[in-house]
Structure formats: C-alpha cells, structure tokens
C-alpha cells in the first residue's frame, strides 16, 4: 500500500511574514441580526498581525469571494480568517478562493460564529458580539501559526463496488459503467432485483415489478464493465477512499475480495414488521401487511379474493403502521425510539393496490383509514381520485385517536374516530385487515460498524448535507443510492443511484485522489517509542510502531489516519501533532480567548 501513497513535496517552503485578512460574514442576517459585525470587523482590524478586516452580507457569494481575491492581489494578504457559518459548509469554498489566487489553500482558518455563536445566543447581542471577536482573534492566532500544506495524493482503483443488487444498485452500476468505470455488484440474495422481486404492479408505470427488474437486469448483464456476484455474503469492508477492500463469501464458502476506489451503498430497506398484536397482527387471523397482501394477490386468480380458504368481501387498509409514530401513542421500537418519519411511498402504494383490488375483484368493499393522503407524485393524485370513483371509502383519524381493530371468528371490527364526519365514532366490519407498513433500513450493522458510517435519527444512512452533498456519506469515497438513505419509490431511486454514480465518477475522474493533509505527524527525535499511541488509535493500520535508524518510533499511514488526535492526547513528550491542528496553535488560540 505504501508505494501507492505519494506525499507531494511541499512546493512552497516559504515562510513569508503573515499578513492576515479577516472577513466577517453577515450570513444574510443569520449572523448580523445578533452579532454586531461592524464592531467585530473594527476590533479585528486593530488586532496584531491583521492587515485588513472586512464584513460582507454573503462572504460565500461570488462578490464576497472577489473581496478576498482583491485583497490578496492588492494588499498581499497571505492568510485568511473567515468568520461565518460552520466550516463543514464552506471551509472548502474559501480554500478554493485562496488556491485560485495563488495562495496555499491551507493558510485559511474558518471560524464558526453562526452555529456556535449567533444561533445559540439570539437574545444576548452584546455577548454574542464579544464572543465573535474572541473567536475571530483566536482564528487569527491560529492562522498565523499555520504552515502551507499539500493534499496527500492516493492512487485510486478505477472501480466502483456497489453493495446491493436491487434497482438502485443496478442503476448505480449502469451509470458508473456508462461513464467508463468498472462496477462490481455484490448482492446478498440469489437474484438481482432486491425488494422489487416481491412486489406486484408498480405505480406509476403500471408495469409488473418483475418486468422492471428484468429491464435493468438485462442492461446490467449486457454491460461488460459490470461484474455481478449474487449470494455474496460480505464479511469485511475496509480500506480508505481510492483503496477500499471488500471481502465476501460465495456459496460453498469460497472467499473473494473486491478492490474499489469508491463504494456505493445500495443496501435498500426492509418492510416494517408489526409487533405481535399491533392491530391484531400475528394474533388474529386475516391481518396482513401490505407487502404480504401484494404477494398474496399476485398468486390469486381473478374472480374471487380469498385468504385462508375464506372469501374476502371487505377489506380495511390502515395507513402509517410503523411510520409517523407519536411519542406516548406508539410503542417504541427495539432501540427505544419511535419511527417518527413518514415512509413516503406507502400512501400511493396502498391506493394503487386498492385500485388493483377493485379492478380484479370489483365487489370487494374497501375502507381506507389514514391520517393524511400523501399522493405527491406527478400522476399519483389521479390514483387517489380513481380510488374515490371506485368506491373506496376513506376515513381520516388524528395522530392521537388511532383506529382500533378487534377481531373474532366472524372477522374484524374497525373503529375510527373520523375527522371527515366531524369526529364521529364510526365502526365497520372487515374480513381482512391490511396494515400499510412503512419502511425501515436494512440491517447493515456489520458494514456500518466496520466503516463507522453515520446514521440519521431515523436509522437510515446519513448524508453529509441534504442539499450540498445529498448522496455522500461523511466517509470519503462512500456514496448512498436509493432507499438506504430514506424511503423512496423505484423511480426516485433511479435519480438517487445515478447521482451516487456521478459523485463516484467525479471522485475517480483523475487516477489519484487528493486527501486532506490533516493527519498525525511524528517528530521522530522526540518520540520515545513507548507504544501508547497505537493502542489509542481507532483506525486499523493508521499508526504502528516500527524500527527506524535503530530506534523504535511511531509511524503514521497518512491515507488511513483521520486526524482525530487521540494519539496526540496520550503522547507525553508531545512528539505527535496533527498537521493543521497543532498543539502550539491550540495554545495560542486558548491564550487569545482567555486574555482579558
């Protein structure tokens, strides 16, 4: 692996006299409504080492960026502090400004005076202003002590590993292959197609799910750039951006490995499984989930809707089972949390199914019990209308007045406090109760824990930012496709998967990938070889002890090191520092903040 990592020699060893430019962003009122930005700029302009301090409504806009460029050109600014939003949003934006202006991009410090100041001190304008001044001054102290850094460049495998062979996984592989990358699909089941294999006629095309799967599968099988492994049991995912390794077993126990520059997580979803007794599920006969009912209907001939040998003449659809749960009303899940999210696809799926029942078995009475009908898609509203025309009866309840299902041998009794009749307690009989269950993420705990992938509160994979980086995980080089991120229908999954492939394509556009240089650096002269630091390191292979010049020292693999600083904390002789985040810089920042 070591030969793959080339640390670019520092091109600019200059230690020019630091000339710091400080830029205070109003964030269009987000900051300036609370913080007196003019005062901050004024105070900072008097601070030692600061050449210029300015404030501007949107530093991240083109005009704002141009201010910095102009100062670099005209005033010789060679280090910048931008006091604005969280660095996770725009640190990269401003590093880009420095780079374009010919200054080493790592001579920038992004100070957060929004999330960590104006947003949390809304009622204390003077205090927030004082805090902004202190934080910006600390930023100045830090940036003055920064050294120019260069990105670590890692040779990247020109291959994308797609975990999951459902429609999202297939689309991601096709798009990656379309751009010329190799793609490998690892599917745990025996067939491609994922959850769609169990579904019937899909909205909005009205096609059988199996036909949709076949179209994608045919394209996948015909593409020479795509390799498919079904029945692939993944037991290890490791490595880092550009150089991931996935080990998996095939039937018969044969182990294989895929090396990939990027990973697409197309791990999909599971249907929510109602607990025993939830609306009679698992206790009373004739209570099914919607996917169970769809499987049943696929097998039944037209004419007579039958379950358990009995004709079904009436049927109740109960929405939001396992979705939009409410604290205190619903039983928490195994992890103690409720599913408070909307599962997005179930309203349309339920109404689509109701219409198909009416088409195939016109005599069946259908009662639809819901909270809000969310048929949001382009043609979905017409299904809702069709269902009404088909005679489906709709009952609407509130979140706290849940419907109650009681069952005996003659069938089910459904009680609803119906909002549509101004709160009337209504009651009807149904031969079959179909629970419109929501979606929950697939169990990918092994991969998630091995790669330390973040989850959202809803347990689905967590993107970096819903609008800025919507299909990227915080783990560099790992992307999300489809319902692994959040419930979505198969057409929406096409968009998500195509974009995941696009981001992988951007990442692998060059043969090597630049990595952040914020990694641990060992001062071998100071290192005593005590071996405490590798024990603290959470990233396999990032920090090891080895012999150098007859001396045992800690050695960092910069591609694996995440720069967390755990090693720094245990190093008594202060022999380790994280580049760009040195102890000397922290000392100076603390001094600046603590100074009266």
């Amino acid at each position: 692996m070591d030969e793959k990592i080339k640390e670019e020699a520092s091109k600019d060893n200059y230690r020019q006299e630091p000339k710091v430019g400080v830029y205070i962003c109003h964030c269009g009122g987000n900051i300036s409504d609370v913080v007196d930005v003019k005062k901050v700029a004024e105070e900072l302009s008097k601070y030692p080492g600061v050449t210029v301090a300015r404030e501007y409504p949107f530093m991240c806009s083109s005009n704002g960026q141009d201010l910095i460029t102009e100062d670099i050109k005209n005033l010789g600014i060679n280090r910048t502090v931008v006091a604005a939003c969280s660095p996770s949003l725009h640190d990269l934006t401003f590093r880009g400004v420095l780079q374009r202006a010919g200054v080493n991009p790592y001579l920038h410090e992004h100070v957060n005076i929004r999330e960590q100041d104006s947003w949390v001190h809304k009622l204390d304008h003077a205090g927030a202003t004082a805090k902004a001044i202190k934080l910006a001054q600390a930023g100045v102290e830090k940036v003055r002590r920064k050294d120019p850094l260069n990105a670590i460049r890692v040779a990247a495998e020109q291959r994308v590993a797609v975990i999951g062979g459902g429609v999202s996984g297939m689309r991601a592989a096709l798009s990656a292959a379309g751009k010329g990358l190799e793609a490998v699909i690892l599917e745990k089941g025996p067939r491609l197609g994922g959850k769609l294999l169990d579904l019937g006629r899909l909205y909005p095309s009205g096609e059988e799910a199996s036909a949709v799967v076949k179209k994608l599968e045919d394209l996948v099988r015909a593409d020479k750039k795509i390799t498919v492994h079904t029945d692939a049991d993944i037991d290890f995912v490791g490595g880092f951006v550009g150089n991931f390794k996935i080990n998996f077993k095939l039937p018969g126990g044969k182990s294989q490995q895929v090396k990939a520059g990027a990973i697409v997580m197309a791990t999909g979803y599971e249907h929510y499984k109602p607990y025993k007794g939830e609306f009679g599920y698992g206790e009373a006969a004739n209570v099914l989930t919607l996917p169970e009912f769809i499987s049943l209907m696929k097998k039944l001939p037209a004419g007579r809707l039958e379950y358990g040998g009995r004709e079904i003449k009436s049927l109740a659809l109960i929405h939001c089972v396992g979705s939009r749960q409410v604290e205190g009303v619903h039983k928490p899940q195994a992890d103690g949390k409720i599913n408070d999210y909307c599962s997005r696809v179930c309203c349309t799926a339920a109404i689509n199914t109701a219409n198909q029942i009416k088409e195939k078995y016109p005599g069946v009475r259908i009662y639809d019990v819901y909270r809000d009908i969310r048929t949001y898609g382009m043609m979905h509203e017409s299904y809702y209308e069709q269902a009404s025309k088909n005679g489906v009866l709709f009952f609407r309840h509130t979140e706290t007045d849940q419907p109650v299902v009681t069952s005996d041998r003659t069938g089910h009794n459904v009680k609803v406090k119906d909002v549509l009749t101004w709160g009337e307690e209504l009651e009807f009989k149904a031969d079959l109760v179909v629970l419109v269950t929501g979606l929950v993420p697939s169990d990918i705990s092994l991969i998630k824990s091995q790669m330390k992938m973040p989850s959202s509160a809803d347990r689905f994979l967590q993107e970096v930012h819903l609008k800025l980086r919507p299909v990227e995980l915080a783990n560099a080089g790992i992307f999300i496709a489809g319902a692994a991120q959040y419930p979505m229908d198969s057409t929406e999954a096409m968009a998500s998967a195509g974009t995941a492939a696009s981001k992988a394509g951007i990442l692998l556009a060059e043969p090597d990938i630049p990595l952040e240089p914020f990694v641990a650096v060992v001062d071998e002269k100071k290192c005593t070889g005590c071996g405490l630091c590798p024990a603290e390191c959470s990233y396999d292979g990032a920090l090891t002890m080895s012999e150098k010049n007859g001396k045992k020292v800690a050695v960092v693999n910069p591609a694996l090191c995440k720069g967390c600083g755990a090693c720094v904390a245990v190093c008594e002789p202060r022999a380790i520092d994280v580049a760009g985040w040195t102890l000397a810089q922290f000392d100076a920042m603390v001094e600046a903040i603590a100074k009266e």
Binding site: G96, G178, P470
Partner: protein, 429 residues
C-alpha cells in the same frame, strides 16, 4: 452574420437554477465542456431569491451562491445569461442551438460593475426581484448576489436622459445595442427549465390578485429574506406588522378547475417553513395553515412539521372557498372546517399567503427537440423505471422541475443523474 458568436461544447444546459447548475458542475467535474443558457440576467434560478430552505433552515444563498461561484469560476463551463433559446436542431448527432443574447444596453466586456449608472439613474420602478415590493432603477444590477454583476437597462422605462452614460467611467452604455445571435453546437442537451408558480389569478374566488394583503409565497420569501424589500415583515397595503397570518394550501394545485390536478409537492413544506420563520420574526403573531392533507414526505420533513405544531402554528383542515376583504384590506376567508364544526364560517386575517403550485418554466416543445411533454407541459421521460433523465429525444435529458414539481433536495439529487446520462450518451457517440 459572419462574426456571429459560436460556441462548441460537449453539453448544453438550458436553465441555471439549482438543477441546471448542479448538472453542469457534475458534467464539468468529469471532464466535459458545458455551456449554460439562462434567460434571466443572473444565474441561480428561483432558489437564489428564497429566504431559508426546509428542512434544515439553511439560508438559500448559503446553498446557492457557492454553486453559482463554482460555475462561474469553472474552467470548463461557459454561461450565457439574459439569453433565450429559440430553437435546437439535431443533425448527425450534433445539436445546433440558436440562442439570442438580449441587449443589456451596456458593453458587457468593458463594464466593471461599479454601479455608478444605477446610482445616477433618476427612474424608479417596481423591483420584480422583490416581487414588485421595493424599487429598482431603470438600469440596475438585478440583485446583490447576481452573477454576472452586470447592469441591465429597461428600455421601456428609460427616459434617455443620458445620466448613466455620463457617469460610466468605461463608456459602456450603448443605447443602440441590438439582440445578438449565438450559435451553440453540443453533443447532448440537458433541459433544466424549472418552473413558474401558478398565477395568483388562477382561482377567481381568491381575489384575482386584487387584494393587496393576499400575497404570493415568493413575495413572502422576499419579506422574510434578510435583504428583503423592507428588511422586516410588513403587509403591503399599509405597512402594518401583521398580527394574524394565514396560508391557503393547494391554492394552485390539486384543483381540476384551474387545470392543475397534480400535487405540487413543495407547497406544504414551504408554507410550514415560512410559518416557522414568521413565528421567529413576529413572535406574537397567530399563524394558521388551512390545508387538505399535509404532505411532509421527505427526509426530516415529518419532524419539521411536528416542530411547527409544537411552536404553536395552527393547522386547520379546511378548504378555503372564497377570499374577500374588509374596508381596512384585512382578508376574509370563507372556510368550511373538516374538524370541529361543519358550518361554513368567515375568518379574518391581516395577511394571507396563497400557496401557489408549480407549472412548467418553459414550453420546451418549441425548441423542436423531439422531447415529449406530459398533459401538463412537463418533460416526459421515455421510461422512468429505468432512468430518471432519458427523454424521447435522442441526446436530450431532463433535470429537476422540468419533469414535474420537486423540492430542492430532490432536484439536486436529480441533477447528478441527468449529468451521468449525458456523459454516458456522449461516450457512446
């Protein structure tokens, strides 16, 4: 005609809203050369004029401007603003687009964006960027974050006084400038033509845009924006701070009577977002949302809706039948509740926002591309079960709201896949 401007690129993107910008960036970051054609004077689309965006409440500028800047600095992206696509022909696998640069009446190459022309112009006009609230000059850079920072003159209202020409240090003002044709050759086209809101006059029962305190959601966005026309939320008729504000949902959607039977997908969420922002800036105001179904179906949206309810925003399931006003221009809503009592009643508010829906931003059939449209004028995909961007026209792809209403997160995600389809198509040529 011999000196007509000609541009040859891999891909042409029509529209520079968030979907157009993102698809251009995704293609250019993978090595393609791209030209973006935008009809408005600045790139950024609708999103750049929004205040904050759901469900994260980031300021819209914070999300849009960096992408605008990336596009304008990208070595492989060219942008043509204030330019219209007149026709696109495809011959032997190459598209030729006839584009017209509209005259700004300034020399774009010489202008240094000093705004002196704007400062001295004596003509004040309603500012369309501020939805008619606030004023602009007859020659103006459209808004603070506009890219490019070039002024546009309004020839209809200019009084030819010459003040701008005298003030301009670069002698840029050109009263005689003519529209200029541009020819673009490209291998693929991405349609990212976005949307317009359904008109305020769509439903005649809702005041036909004549009630001053019944405003559009875009106007509400500007009132809430940090650099909005008044710097605070005031109602248009008399500048009063409204104490009671109502949202009328589905005012341009789910309504066959106005030809928009589909759900516009974004209105529930933008109304909830504006309500949350309003209760931040007007803590004592009563805010009511009259709705049919609340459609909070995206990631984090249901929780956002729950937060709004916890903040005390009233959600009333009721259809608004009619809007009139009293002598003080307070809007009066005639409603029928579906919860509580059934009798129709009249409720007075001080400001009302009509939650307009979305309709196509352009009739792309006029380009002559072979891309088919659905019944409502949005671009139809050839098979949406297999691809989210491929249209019936060879080499023509669609991104974002051009295919139907979707919100910002969905549009951003959508754009990358359109870029990928274009890349894949070009590789196979």
């Amino acid at each position: 005609m011999s000196d007509m401007e000609k541009i040859e690129v891999d891909a042409l993107v029509v529209g520079s809203g968030i979907a157009g910008l993102q698809s251009a960036l995704d293609m250019a970051d993978q090595g393609l050369s791209v030209v973006i054609v935008e009809k408005r004077p600045s790139i950024g689309g609708k999103m750049i004029s929004l205040s904050k965006v759901f469900p994260t409440l980031d300021c819209a500028s914070c999300i849009t401007t960096p992408r605008m800047a990336s596009v304008s600095h990208h070595p492989r992206i060219t942008t043509l603003t204030y330019s219209t696509v007149d026709a696109i022909k495809r011959e032997n696998g190459v598209f030729t687009a006839a584009v017209t640069r509209k005259p700004r009446y300034i020399d774009e190459k010489e202008c240094i964006s000093c705004k002196r022309c704007e400062d001295v112009c004596p003509v004040y006009l309603p500012d369309e960027y501020e939805e008619g609230m606030g004023a602009k000059k007859a020659i103006t850079i459209p808004f603070t974050n506009a890219i490019p920072q070039l002024p546009v003159m309004d020839p209809e209202h200019c009084i030819r006084c010459g003040a701008c020409a005298r003030a301009c240090p670069k002698d840029c003002i050109d009263f005689l400038q003519q529209p200029a044709p541009v020819e673009i050759k490209a291998k693929a086209v991405i349609l990212a033509t976005g949307y317009e809101t359904t008109p305020m006059t769509a439903k005649k029962q809702y005041g036909m845009a004549k009630l001053p305190n019944v405003i559009s959601p875009m106007a509400a966005e500007r009132l809430l924006a940090p650099h909005g026309p008044y710097g605070r939320v005031l109602r248009p008729s008399d500048g009063m701070v409204p104490g009671s504000i109502a949202y009328v949902q589905c005012a341009g959607s789910r309504d066959k009577s106005i030809g928009v039977p589909y759900c516009s997908r974004v209105c529930c969420m933008y109304a909830i977002k504006q309500a949350i922002l309003l209760s931040g800036s007007l803590p004592i105001a009563d805010i009511t949302i009259y709705y049919m179904d609340i459609r909070a179906f995206g990631k984090g949206y249901e929780q956002f809706y729950n937060n709004a309810r916890a903040m005390g925003i009233n959600f009333v399931k009721a259809k608004v039948a009619r809007i009139t006003e009293d002598e003080k221009h307070n809007p009066i809503l005639r409603i029928e509740r579906q919860e509580g009592s059934s009798a129709p009643e009249e409720v007075k508010h001080e400001l009302v926002v009509l939650s307009q829906g979305l309709r196509p931003g352009d009739d792309v059939s006029r380009y002559g591309l072979g891309a088919e449209l659905n019944d409502f004028g949005f671009v139809k995909l050839s098979d949406e079960t297999v691809s989210s961007a491929v249209t019936a026209g060879a080499g023509v792809f669609a991104a974002g709201v051009s295919k139907g209403p979707r919100d910002i997160p969905d549009s951003v995600v959508d754009a990358g896949s359109a870029a990928m389809e274009a890349i894949s198509y070009i590789r196979k040529l």
